[in-house]
């Protein structure tokens, strides 16, 4: 079969698909899943807003040095919060909670069969649920990162305003928000796939976490299979870490930011395609749960 034949087949297939129906089904799935997830995941709110609370407490009870040098120091603290807490712990565990629950939770609650008994392709179901999880995770963590950023610089008054709007502050905020969104997408896709592969995705989740930590010591091609590989290249502030913690900042092979963004999106799509295959293997056998 020639390349032209393949293209023609793909075009025919595409024309036969009811894309409008898929779109409306995805929007309904997202609506239902978002309201369900936002209602029931209190600990994920905590995970997202713990640093915000800590910064707030620090502002209320601490003694503050408000000179310009302190802005640089606080910028490093904010970078540490975002890179060490949000990227490595907060979004990781929140995505584990949100995305593994999308299918496995419904198996535990014995309600997944309702999703399988409607005229919805299982691939559409995967995409709809993934988007729903992504909306919840991104909304929570972008709000939290934004709150951390505002609280960090607001106390400096005019100097803080100048750092944000005339200095590098706004670009840093943009990078943090982009990286937060990408982290949610990347980890989300990983945990969605794990929930379709394993009855208990917690243990493989811990293995993935270990892999994300030690990936920097592996060859460059292997590092590309980790989410943090791409995120690190997009972080606007380098952390001044030494000793064992320096492993979090190693960049073995620098890549351009746009390649990092594209790479993570490709990794996410590849894992979602795998999930679409896995969902076809899934059977409703609640007694085995």
């Amino acid at each position: 079969m020639s390349f032209q034949d393949l293209v023609a087949r793909a075009q025919n297939w595409s024309k036969e698909q009811p894309w409008r129906l898929y779109g409306s089904q995805i929007s309904i799935l997202v609506r239902n899943e978002v309201s369900r997830n936002l209602r029931r995941r209190v600990w994920i709110y905590l995970l997202a807003f713990i640093p915000v609370l800590l910064i707030l407490i620090h502002l209320m009870v601490g003694r503050h040095n408000l000179d310009v040098d302190q802005i640089e120091a606080d910028t490093d603290v904010l970078a540490g919060i975002v890179q060490l807490y949000y990227f490595r712990l907060g979004t990781f565990f929140a995505c584990m909670g949100i995305f593994t629950w999308l299918f496995r939770g419904e198996m535990v609650e014995r309600t997944l069969h309702y999703q399988f008994l409607v005229p919805v392709r299982r691939e559409v179901l995967v995409v709809g649920k993934f988007f729903a999880g992504a909306v919840v995770a991104i909304a929570l963590f972008e709000t939290a990162v934004l709150a951390c950023f505002c609280l960090t610089y607001a106390r400096f008054g005019a100097a803080g305003k100048s750092y944000v709007f005339d200095g590098p502050g706004l670009a840093q905020l943009g990078s943090y928000l982009l990286v937060t969104a990408l982290a949610c997408l990347g980890y989300g896709a990983v945990f969605l796939a794990l929930s379709l592969l394993f009855k208990n995705p917690i243990v493989p989740g811990v293995v993935i976490m270990g892999w994300e930590v030690i990936a920097p010591i592996f060859p460059a091609w292997a590092q590309r299979l980790s989410v943090t590989f791409y995120l690190k290249h997009l972080c606007p502030v380098s952390l001044p870490l030494t000793g064992p913690l320096a492993i979090f900042t190693i960049v073995a092979e620098p890549v351009a930011p746009w390649i990092a963004v594209l790479g993570l999106l490709c990794l996410t799509i590849a894992i979602l395609v795998l999930s679409c295959f896995l969902i076809h293997r899934l059977e409703i056998t609640y007694t085995a749960e």
Binding site: L21, Q25, E109, R110, T111, Y114, P119, A288
Partner: protein
């Protein structure tokens, strides 16, 4: 075999859960009408229904429902409604939303979905409580709201796993009338139930199952003929039960003649019912015994089921 667009076809279907047999070598095809799956717990009724609707995949064989398979979900689930026996619901949902949102996933617009939702709620007798949370429903109400969801999109094939469980007599009677009305429109209604009397009354055909195998399938009387070798039971109520029992015993084809506790009835088990009826005529015309009533005691699903699988059909 080419799948028929009006039939439900099982082609040599087997399902194993690891080493545990679900169903084995199931072959049959069903015409429109009410079909009942009968068998004890673990006989494979629910497995068969889950296979039919794609909730599980066959280990071997193929299933076609109106020529479609669950691998074509858009076309398939527009034709099929399945009321499972899983008594669980999405947390926080109310009766109306439970029906409305799946209809939206079917592709119905908001107005049409609302209209179909209200219609289904009325047909299931749930209109008054539709806005209440499902978590606050009684078992019978939960059963009926699942039924309403299964029929809301007007499927051509309605699969109902133990649909009469938990219903009070009035709701049961209304549900049966609903199944019959749906079947009269030329649709398939597949029911599993352990209430054999009701299955007997409403079914066009039965599929009898035991230990994962289909042991008989067809109209009730056809199934009865399939087990012709098994002695048939005839209950005779008469003035002299012991005399009748003694006369019956002299016939080769009578394997048992039991006088019942009322002292006026004899239960005869015979391999040749026609010969026994001839004897009965002779006895009556001879004036030895006055017969008040004669009735086949086992020409229903329950007794056929007992014959076939050597178990108490009432416990199925």
């Amino acid at each position: 075999m080419t799948p028929d667009s009006r039939q439900i076809v099982f082609e040599n279907v087997s399902k194993f859960y690891g080493e545990v047999l679900g169903v084995n070598k199931v072959n049959f095809s069903l015409e429109p009408g009410i079909t009942s799956l009968v068998g004890p717990n673990g006989s494979g009724k629910t497995t068969l229904m889950n296979l039919m609707t794609g909730l599980i995949r066959p280990s071997r064989g193929a299933i076609y429902v109106l020529g479609l398979t669950p691998q074509q979900p858009i076309e398939f689930f527009r034709q099929v409604g399945f009321c499972t026996q899983f008594d669980s619901f999405p947390p926080g949902t109310n009766g109306y939303d439970f029906i409305y949102w799946p209809l939206r996933l079917h592709g119905f617009g908001a107005d049409q979905a609302a209209k179909l939702t209200n219609e289904a709620l009325e047909r299931a007798g749930m209109g008054q409580v539709a806005r209440r949370k499902v978590a606050g429903y009684s078992k019978g109400m939960r059963q009926r709201i699942r039924l309403a969801q299964a029929i809301a999109h007007h499927p051509s094939v309605l699969v109902l796993d133990e649909p009469l469980n938990g219903l009070d007599p009035m709701a049961r009677s209304e549900s049966i009338a609903l199944f019959q009305a749906i079947a009269k429109q030329g649709m398939h209604v597949i029911i599993s139930s352990h209430i054999l009397e009701e299955v007997d009354r409403i079914s066009d055909r039965v599929v009898l199952m035991s230990s994962g195998y289909v042991v008989a399938e067809g109209q009730i009387r056809e199934v009865r003929r399939e087990v012709r070798d098994h002695p048939m039971q005839i209950l005779v109520r008469c003035s002299n039960a012991s005399r009748l029992a003694a006369a019956a015993f002299e016939l080769d084809h009578v394997v048992e003649a039991k006088i019942l506790s009322d002292g006026q009835s004899v239960l005869v088990r015979t391999r040749d019912a026609e010969q026994f009826y001839l004897l009965l005529n002779k006895i009556v015309s001879g004036g030895f015994v006055e017969v008040d009533a004669v009735a086949p005691a086992d020409d229903d699903v329950n007794s056929i089921y007992q014959y076939l699988i050597g178990s108490d059909g009432g416990q199925a």
